[in-house]
């Protein structure tokens, strides 16, 4: 079977895995389309949830959310399985592979020997595809890597059953039924509407544009309140959450801009093309945030002034995104 599976390189693990799986089953769809229909774009800053001792900052929706939404909106039926018993989980994987299917898995990254060591943190919401087995090694297509890799079964078992926040519990999934005709217009419309309503939330400042503003306003006080060192570490953490592997850079803004462009072409709507360009500009702005912040993290650049500039950049991002989603919301698809 695995002779027929083609590895694809994508920007982000979850949307990448689902794109590869659908392509394998003959659906021609791009990663950005999946990301957009799945309402992947997001922003959230939760000071009271700590990961590695830092507040959780998310630039995308909760893990698993993209796949779930795309499946629902395109009418694709998926089979999801989780396991209590590790042996049973591995057996079920072997069985499914024997049926000749590539399988999507949720794993932790800490135990994956092929993963770049610098990215091996205790992070449990990675996604990858297993498409075959050779002896004791599983053949793995990790969409965030540029080539397929192999992984010994003992390591894969550990990764599938890693523990803690967002523990995967051996989760595996694969499409079982794909409709012949996919209604993209409806799916795109739903995907866009959800992103708009989340980003334009006005109820609290934990999610969406208000969360970007709230975070921005806190930044200048960091060096005084928490000390230069912790402030720098917290900045570094923000950059990592924004840019680290699988996020595809600039907190997914470019992926989303790419989606808007593709949707605009597909549906013949020039308004979406214009919004795509504006989204690209915001992405560049987020990028410049990382550029500005990086020297501070490293201690090469000191001074409170930089923190003020960083606040201004983020506030600008917030304003621009507010405008974009407001206009996007009004477009009838």
């Amino acid at each position: 079977m695995h002779e027929t599976f083609t590895h694809q390189h994508h920007a982000h693990c979850e949307s990448g895995v689902f794109t590869s799986l659908l392509c394998h089953h003959g659906v021609e769809i791009s990663e950005s389309m999946i990301f957009g229909i799945g309402s992947g774009l997001f922003f959230s800053h939760l000071p009271f949830v700590k990961v590695y001792g830092f507040p959780l900052t998310a630039y995308r929706i909760a893990p698993g959310g993209i796949i779930k939404r795309v499946a629902k909106r395109l009418g694709i039926r998926l089979k999801f399985e989780t396991f209590r018993d590790q042996e049973k989980g591995m057996f079920a994987l072997d069985q499914a592979l024997a049926d000749g299917r590539p399988i999507g898995l949720q794993t932790g990254v800490f135990w994956l020997p092929f993963f770049p060591p610098a990215y091996r943190f205790q992070f449990n919401a990675h996604n990858l595809i297993v498409y075959g087995k050779e002896g004791d090694d599983y053949l793995i297509s990790d969409p965030t890597l540029d080539r397929p890799v192999k992984c010994p079964s003992s390591d894969l078992k550990k990764a599938r059953f890693s523990k803690g926040f967002l523990a995967p519990k051996g989760k595996m999934y694969y499409p079982v039924e794909i409709p012949r005709e996919l209604d993209y217009r409806k799916a795109v419309s739903k995907g866009i509407r959800e992103v708009c309503s989340k980003m334009l939330n006005r109820v609290h400042s934990l999610v969406g544009v208000p969360a970007i503003r709230a975070l921005a306003k806190k930044i200048p006080a960091w060096p005084q309140k928490q000390g230069e060192k912790y402030a720098a570490a917290q900045l570094a953490n923000l950059i990592r959450m924004q840019e680290e592997i699988g996020t595809g850079g600039a907190g997914f803004r470019f992926v989303y801009a790419s989606f808007l462009q593709e949707a605009g072409d597909m549906l013949g709507m020039d308004e979406l093309l214009v919004l795509s360009q504006r989204m690209t500009k915001v992405g560049d702005r987020w990028n410049s945030f990382a550029y500005k912040a990086a020297p501070v993290c490293k201690g090469r650049k000191k001074g409170r002034a930089v923190y003020g500039e960083l606040r201004d950049i983020l506030l600008d991002c917030a304003d621009q995104e507010h405008g974009i989603f407001n206009d996007l919301r009004r477009i009838k698809i």
Binding site: H10, P117, E243
Partner: protein, 131 residues
């Protein structure tokens, strides 16, 4: 971001590449392969510096006889007592107790084996802290 602006800084990705979305000359989005980005590398290095500092601190506490070697391996695997407990099948407070050298030295071999298998090491190494 234009495709010629995509950073190509060799760094933490080692010999892997990653995909970044950027626009070509006609303003069309395309996936572009990138070797990495220095800003990312710097942020990542800082995170590791923090983790490694913690590991070193724990290591010296173990050498000073204030903590058991279990504490060192726990830190080395980015774990806290709660998480290690979930992996090994013990409660958090039990793991915390095992961090005391006096308690650790009396642990039964079954308990030690459970810890060792979590860390992918032998029981002998678990007792000594040698890398």
């Amino acid at each position: 971001m234009r495709k010629d602006e995509v950073p190509q800084d060799q760094g933490i990705l080692e010999n892997y590449k990653e995909v970044v979305y950027a626009v070509d000359d006609r303003g069309r989005y395309i996936p572009v392969s990138s070797k990495g980005w220095s800003a990312k590398t710097e942020a990542n290095e800082l995170a590791w510096a923090g983790i490694n500092l913690q590991i070193e601190k724990t290591r010296s506490l173990v050498l000073a006889g204030k903590l058991s070697p279990l504490a060192y391996y726990m830190e080395l695997n980015h774990m806290k007592p709660g998480l290690l407990g979930k992996y090994a099948g013990f409660s958090r407070w039990r793991v915390r107790r095992h961090l005391k050298p006096a308690v650790f030295s009396k642990l039964r071999s079954e308990v030690l084996e459970k810890y060792a298998s979590v860390f992918n090491i032998t029981v002998d190494r678990l007792k000594t802290m040698d890398n």
